[in-house]
């Protein structure tokens, strides 16, 4: 879908990225100033690489060696900017149609009504952008980019300017888009919450370079990448399958590589794959099986590593089958338990949330 290899010198800063992105959502994650926005600006044609090549859907958009540089208006890529950038002099409807009107009818693959429906913006159509809330503006901006029937959708921190409530309002729409319209998304973010909810593939950026690329769960469970993925609430990300709904106990059973977990019954389809998030502070460790406890999820595990982290807490990485589980305990507890790598213990998972589900978006126990 997207195949790029670009180098650009910006003052003292050098962006040097080579990556391939396929279907679904590919997230470029990294701190501010790591070159994420530069990358998608170059893909969109708003900035020019010094060297390299950009190919989308087999069409060469930029090739320094062959002197190809397709202007942005002919690249057919949708771009959702951080600040929306709706045209203030046009109604919402005219904004939505701005890109669509410039696509030949035969090449339009996105229906106006479908987009309006998915984004829930029908009641806004006749308003001016100045009268919309931040979340509404971003939804319209997403719709506008989609209606141009892009080959790929570029999103530059589309939620960064929104408060938590507005974020929650827009986030589900983005997740639904890629599937619903079959358009791959390249998503720039410095929020791990967004990445966890949206990204199929994760690209970790560091000082203009690509540090790692791979399936989101894989990268997030690699301890050596923690310095890059860090700065979000410590925790583990687990891919699991919905195995059963038990109406009697009111629980849903989820199977993952390393055992099964239960949580309060939800409406996820049986057999669907979900992404679970377990915060490190929600994992307790017992040397012996705790016996009868209120915690429903007790998993046999092996200690993989123990390290003293920040603010007097001890990070313990546990291994449950093929899955790594991150636990944080107090140093007093460590002094008592004296955990060592290789020890067999029991992990008690007090709470887990669904970071990304096929149907519902939140859950808990």
């Amino acid at each position: 879908m997207l195949d790029l290899s670009i180098i650009r010198q910006q003052g003292r800063f050098r962006v040097d990225v080579t990556l391939k992105a396929g279907a679904g959502v590919t997230a470029l994650f990294g701190p501010s100033g790591s070159g994420k926005t530069s990358v998608i600006n170059m893909v969109a044609g708003l900035a020019r690489p010094d060297q390299g090549r950009i190919v989308v859907d087999g069409r060469v958009l930029f090739d320094r060696a062959e002197r190809i540089d397709v202007p942005p208006e002919h690249r057919r890529l949708g771009y959702v900017f951080q600040d929306g950038r709706l045209f203030p002099h046009l109604s919402v409807r005219a904004n939505l149609n701005f890109g669509r009107d410039r696509v030949p009818p035969a090449e339009r693959k996105v229906e106006f009504d479908a987009v309006v429906d998915v984004l829930g913006i029908e009641h806004l159509l006749d308003r001016r952008p100045a009268l919309l809330s931040g979340g509404e503006k971003q939804r319209v901006a997403i719709g506008r980019a989609l209606l141009a029937s892009p080959r790929i959708l570029l999103m530059d921190e589309p939620l960064a300017a929104l408060d938590a409530n507005r974020k929650a309002e827009v986030l589900p729409f983005i997740g639904a888009l890629s599937k619903r319209f079959g358009i791959p998304i390249l998503y720039v973010s410095h929020s791990m919450d967004e990445v966890l909810t949206l990204a199929d593939t994760l690209v970790l950026m560091d000082q203009g370079r690509m540090a790692a690329i791979g399936p989101t769960e894989d990268l997030l469970s690699r301890p050596e990448l923690r310095p890059l993925t860090g700065r979000w609430e410590a925790g583990s990300v687990i891919r699991a399958k919905v195995e059963a709904h038990d109406s009697q106990s009111g629980m849903t059973v989820l199977r993952f590589a390393g055992g099964s977990l239960v949580m309060a019954r939800n409406h996820l389809a049986l057999g669907s794959t979900v992404r679970l998030r377990v915060q490190a502070s929600d994992v307790a460790i017992a040397l012996d099986h705790p016996g009868r406890v209120s915690v429903r999820n007790v998993l046999p595990a092996k200690v993989l590593s123990v390290s003293h982290g920040e603010s007097g807490l001890v990070d313990v990485i546990l291994e449950c089958g093929a899955t790594q589980l991150w636990a944080q305990i107090s140093s007093a507890a460590q002094a008592d338990l004296n955990l060592q790598p290789g020890m067999d213990v029991h992990a008690m998972v007090k709470a887990l949330t669904i970071a990304r589900g096929e149907v519902a978006k939140t859950g808990g126990n």
Partner: protein
């Protein structure tokens, strides 16, 4: 009581005609210059900027005299115009319109340039990513967004043209029915003893026209602003 005499009607009509054409004729060039100054860097930009603003600080008589030298029948441009196209602007209302346009040009360019500099370039980038070429982007996004500035520029230039005197009388003189606009007619009357009442009437007409233009601009620009804000 206030029926206009033929002389007053003629002067009023000429003033509106001259000012109208002065503004309409120079507007495209004004937008072009404003765009160049706001968006492009080129060698000699400061010089061009200075030249455009010169009429603002020069005595209008100097501008009128330059125009006479350049565009009079025997001027460099004037003679070429006459030889090739058989057009002569000296001592006609067209000449008066040119004089007014030159004098009012800096005001127009300033207002539009200021407004252009305020346009978010990000909106133009957004239009480009939506399949809109640079030319189409200018007309569908940039121009509507600088409309308030264009309106201000047009009104300022129109008002300045209405009050134009020095350059006009130097370039095209005082010819009844051709170049005798309101200010020139008023000046002529003040030179004749015993015409105080007639002069006062012209003063009142000038004030009313100027005031009406200002009011109209205020109402218009408020409407345009309201449209942009939703």
């Amino acid at each position: 009581m206030f029926t206009l005499t033929d002389l007053e009607l003629e002067a009023l009509y000429l003033s509106l005609l001259v000012s109208g054409w002065a503004v309409a004729g120079s507007l495209p060039l004004g937008i072009g210059c404003a765009w160049l100054l706001a968006r492009r860097d080129f060698p000699g930009k400061t010089l061009v900027d200075g030249l455009i603003h010169l009429p603002l600080v020069l005595p209008p008589v100097v501008v009128g005299y330059f125009l006479l030298v350049l565009m009079g029948r025997r001027g460099v441009i004037g003679s070429a115009l006459y030889d090739w196209f058989g057009i002569s602007v000296a001592f006609t209302w067209k000449g008066a319109a040119i004089a007014s346009a030159v004098i009012a040009f800096p005001l127009m360019v300033r207002a539009i340039r200021l407004s252009l500099e305020g346009v978010d370039r990000g909106l133009e980038q957004a239009a480009r990513t939506l399949g809109c070429g640079p030319f189409a982007t200018f007309f569908t996004v940039t121009l509507p967004l600088v409309m308030p500035g264009i309106l201000t520029g047009v009104i300022l230039a129109f008002a300045r043209s209405l009050s134009e005197f020095g350059a006009t009388i130097t370039f095209v003189s005082n010819i009844p029915g051709e170049t005798r606009t309101l200010p020139i007619a008023l000046y002529a009357l003040t030179q004749v003893p015993g015409e105080d009442a007639a002069a006062l009437r012209l003063c009142v007409i000038s004030v009313v026209v100027a005031f009406a233009a200002l009011m109209a601009s205020e109402i218009l620009s408020r409407r345009v602003q309201a449209r942009l804000k939703g």
